[in-house]
Symmetry: C2
Subunit: 338 residues, 2 copies
DNA sequence: CTGTCAATCCAAAACGTTTTGGTTTTTTAA
DNA sequence: TTAAAAAACCAAAACGTTTTGGATTGACAG
């Protein structure tokens, strides 16, 4: 169970541990012949410097940590993109799954990573304050914040909301509905942008036309069913805060006899894979998840290298036109085919 | 940038570092009053023991590493399940994304993790041999191997193949086709089980009825298009090595005028989320990804604790009956509706 | 022969912990 | 009051590295 250390290699090679260290880490103070002998020996003995031993001395680990609660779905795509960018910069990406903000903070304080990318709803203001004091390079993905060595990399969700409004208006719609997401950064900003742009165009969206979607298929479906049951006139243009809730919404609409997109247009957001296979295929706002992951990793590296102080970066969305949106029907409000 | 160490806390509390260490790690040799004072101070100063310092002394990191090349999709679900099981056992799960088998090996040899879960195509026999010598507790997820401190946790894909054959035969089918996956453990075993069980039932599956699917939607679609163009008679029961290729297969069939499941039944494997939303909804073999993740993590913990030597564990699949399979049509071979 | 220089090498310190084996102080028992 | 026992504390070693500041060669110039 005892693993080989630098001492073992030194003994085997008949030199001091200093020489072994120099030989293996490319130092200049060692004869070519000796270096080769040591390298061969180290390989034979499966020697690899101890992570802890090395870091203790160096105060540098060479790893960037992605802290989140889950890793499935969205997070996985993000992590894959980050990983590429980290490796290009000579860092390793570790995904550290933590249950609470306290666990994230503990891990950071234990000096395991050179930089942290944080996407964790449990990480609160209290933690942020500690993080700032600690001066550890960090990047937030779910809030707008910047300070000394802390940056944020975000979707420009406000603008995405604006674009959604512009697109639906451009199709001729005048009566709208918003399927609300959760109160995350993106959920709040998408909503804000959508409402703001509608207002600029002189369109009012009354409270009863905002449905609870919770970024969730089932929730959106139930909400829409309730709305339909209420007998209120159906608007013709619907923007859902994400694709999942858009699909739930469509499910309820078609079940009630509405045709999408002939009677009602539904615009999603995120561009999940399912959207292109669903019937009708989903028109949606495509957010660049991979781009964001890559930018976040690069920003972390830049902060570690002290290239610039903390700042805020936003990436924009583009529309993906598919089958769930169409021009507004002639009648003011949509009605089910019966 | 200098983080607080145990020395700082000791100085602030007016005690030795020994006492601080005891106070914070629940040692018994410290007065209650002193302990409280130290705890409060440590919290105030944001002190957290250095990961490297502690591990150097302990030769134990408290982390289990999941080594893979990607983390999106399938891997993410797996990792989430593992994370739960690890935390229950007092370990932390780190997902370590490595490009090559060499990188995995380096990381393991640098003694960063107490146990490794390996799911990496780049990890070859050469690495396995080193791993065995190193005696580090490890679990493979993509090959059948066991030794001193090395286990495997796998899908029982051979049995899954058998079940697929049984199910299709039970529906009355006699003419079959197999959409081949990649030459991974699961790909090979699913195929072996399917063929074996057909043979046991006296059914022959000729080579021209095995199509290349590569676990990939497009590849399967192209293969099926080519088969249709060849004019060969269409079998009525198709088993695809995974859901993606099943969907590609259905795409080609419906485009050519075949009705699924009336003319041809298509059985997938994996139970991906898309399957339930696709039209027709996909009948498939459900593999327990979360169960496997949980088992793998528990097995790793057991190996770390020396509870038993390396062994092989397999989890079974269950069928999910949906809309892409039906009883065999009366005519021997299926024909497009025209 | 002497001093300089470059090329190799190495001993020891330092990094931040935990643990071992005391030492000092306080409490208890006689 | 004193001896023994218990409680509270601490100095130093050890873990595996890297780095600092020499030490030891041998070659070469003067």
């Amino acid at each position: 169970m005892r693993r080989t250390t630098i001492k073992d290699v030194a003994k085997a090679a008949g030199v001091s541990i200093t020489t072994v260290s120099h030989a293996l880490s490319g130092g200049t103070d060692v004869k070519q012949e000796t270096r080769e002998r040591i390298e061969k020996l180290a390989a034979q003995m499966n020697y690899m410097p101890s992570f802890s031993g090395r870091n203790l001395k160096n105060a540098r680990t060479g790893v960037i940590g992605l802290y989140s609660r889950y890793i499935r779905g969205f997070y996985g795509v993000l992590a894959d993109a980050m990983c590429d960018a980290c490796q290009e910069a000579g860092f390793e990406l570790d995904v550290i799954l933590a249950e609470s903000g306290d666990m994230v903070m503990s891990s950071i304080l234990s000096k395991r990573v050179d930089g942290a990318i944080i996407l964790h709803s449990g990480f609160g203001d209290r933690h942020t304050e500690v993080l700032r004091e600690t001066e550890l390079p960090a990047v937030f993905l779910d809030r707008e914040f910047s300070a000394g060595r802390i940056s944020s990399v975000l979707f420009d969700s406000y603008k995405t909301g604006c674009q959604a409004a512009d697109y639906l208006c451009g199709l001729g719609h005048r009566e709208f509905m918003f399927i609300k997401g959760q109160d995350t950064y993106d959920g709040v900003e998408r909503r804000r942008g959508f409402y703001q742009r509608l207002r600029e165009r002189g369109i009012d969206l009354p409270p009863e036309r905002e449905l609870e979607g919770a970024f969730d298929r089932t929730t959106a479906q139930r909400s829409m069913e309730r709305f339909i049951a209420s007998g209120a006139p159906m608007p013709t243009g619907i923007f859902a805060a994400n694709d999942d809730s858009a699909i739930g919404c469509i499910l309820a609409l078609t079940a009630a006899g509405y045709r999408v997109p002939e009677d009602v247009s539904v615009l999603g957001c995120d561009n999940i894979e399912l959207g292109q296979w669903y019937t009708p295929s989903l028109t949606t706002m495509k957010t660049g998840i991979s781009t964001m992951g890559r930018l976040a990793a690069q920003e972390t590296v830049a902060l570690i290298n002290g290239e610039h102080p903390g700042r805020i970066t936003k990436t924009e969305s583009t529309i993906v036109e598919r089958g769930s949106c169409a021009g507004a029907p002639l009648s003011e409000a949509a009605a089910p085919a019966g």
